[in-house]
């Protein structure tokens, strides 16, 4: 006869997988967004420096 009481932990593996997918997925998306934004800004910076190189001599200096 089957017991009506809990025999062991509930089977919640699919929820666990979903949870960790969200955790690592969102963090990865944020990292990708940082990389894309940085790449776009660097491209903008290059264009602006090409427009008037004499005006921005300090732009290539590392800080």
């Amino acid at each position: 006869m089957e017991s009506i009481f809990l025999q062991g932990p509930a089977n919640t593996t699919s929820y666990m997988i979903a949870g960790f997918t969200v955790i690592f997925g969102v963090m990865l998306l944020y990292l990708v967004s940082l990389v894309i934004r940085q790449r776009n800004l660097n491209q903008d910076l290059e264009v602006l420096q090409e427009l008037e190189p004499a005006d921005f001599p300090e732009s290539n200096e590392g800080q």
Binding site: T13, G19, V26, L45, L48, S59
Partner: protein, 232 residues
């Protein structure tokens, strides 16, 4: 773009290694919870993400205060960076909480005081980003951001204490649960160690991301200034 400092490179590596270690601890060191099963493992990063969210909003309030005192744009950049990261982790916290709630509370969502205050907190900071984007004058934008971050921070302690002050089904980790709290559990030593380590690791993630985001903010300011200069 200024070259990446060596300290930041080291912080990147340390953070990745720590995150890997924390993940291994969650899956192979912390024992399986007797009632909830595997989904309880989400708890370690769920709480840690909530911690980073609140830490980000605290940092933004501090940066706002410093901007109002010093009128230095570096504090505006830091405040924006902290809000953005705080928002990302507050989102992770809320979504993972909802996933955990489905098998434990038998619902994806309930308008419980903790869930409601956490959602309001997130919306307040989402509005911060949207409203900032609508202000063109950098000085006005920075002043607005500073004041908003300070006032908006009121939502953080309200969210934190909501599970302790109001009648709620959301369990608390530190302190006494409300009588109706569902899903609470007694932590073993290994669970507590994993939990505290996860908090530490997510603090490293916050510091690392903040540094990167501040560098991006500085680059963005530089480009904005050059664009204005080229228009003159």
């Amino acid at each position: 773009m200024e070259p990446k400092p060596t300290t930041l490179k080291i912080l990147d590596i340390v953070t990745v290694v720590l995150l890997l270690l924390a993940t291994l601890m969650v899956f192979f060191y912390a024992p399986l919870e007797a009632v909830m099963g595997q989904v309880q493992k989400v708890f370690y990063f769920h709480v840690a993400a909530g911690w980073v969210g609140m830490l980000g909003f605290l940092a933004a309030a501090f940066a706002g205060l410093m901007y109002l005192l010093r009128s230095d744009f570096k504090w505006d950049i830091a405040g924006l960076a902290a809000v953005e990261i705080g928002l990302v982790f507050a989102f992770i916290n809320i979504v993972t909480g909802s996933i955990w709630a489905r098998p434990i509370w038998n619902t994806w969502w309930t308008w419980d005081p903790r869930l409601t205050t956490a959602t309001i907190m997130m919306l307040i900071y989402a509005a911060y980003l949207m409203l900032r984007a609508g202000i063109e004058d950098p000085d006005r934008r920075a002043r607005f951001g500073a004041v908003y971050a300070i006032i908006g921070f009121l939502s953080v302690p309200l969210t934190f204490f909501s599970a302790r002050l109001f009648r709620t089904i959301h369990p608390v980790v530190i302190g006494t649960n409300q009588p109706g709290a569902e899903g609470s559990f007694d932590m073993t030593t290994a669970m507590l160690q994993t939990f505290l380590f996860s908090l530490l690791v997510f603090t490293f993630i916050f510091a690392d991301l903040l540094w990167h985001r501040i560098r991006l903010g500085r680059l963005s300011l530089k480009v904005e200034q050059l664009k204005l200069k080229s228009l003159e």
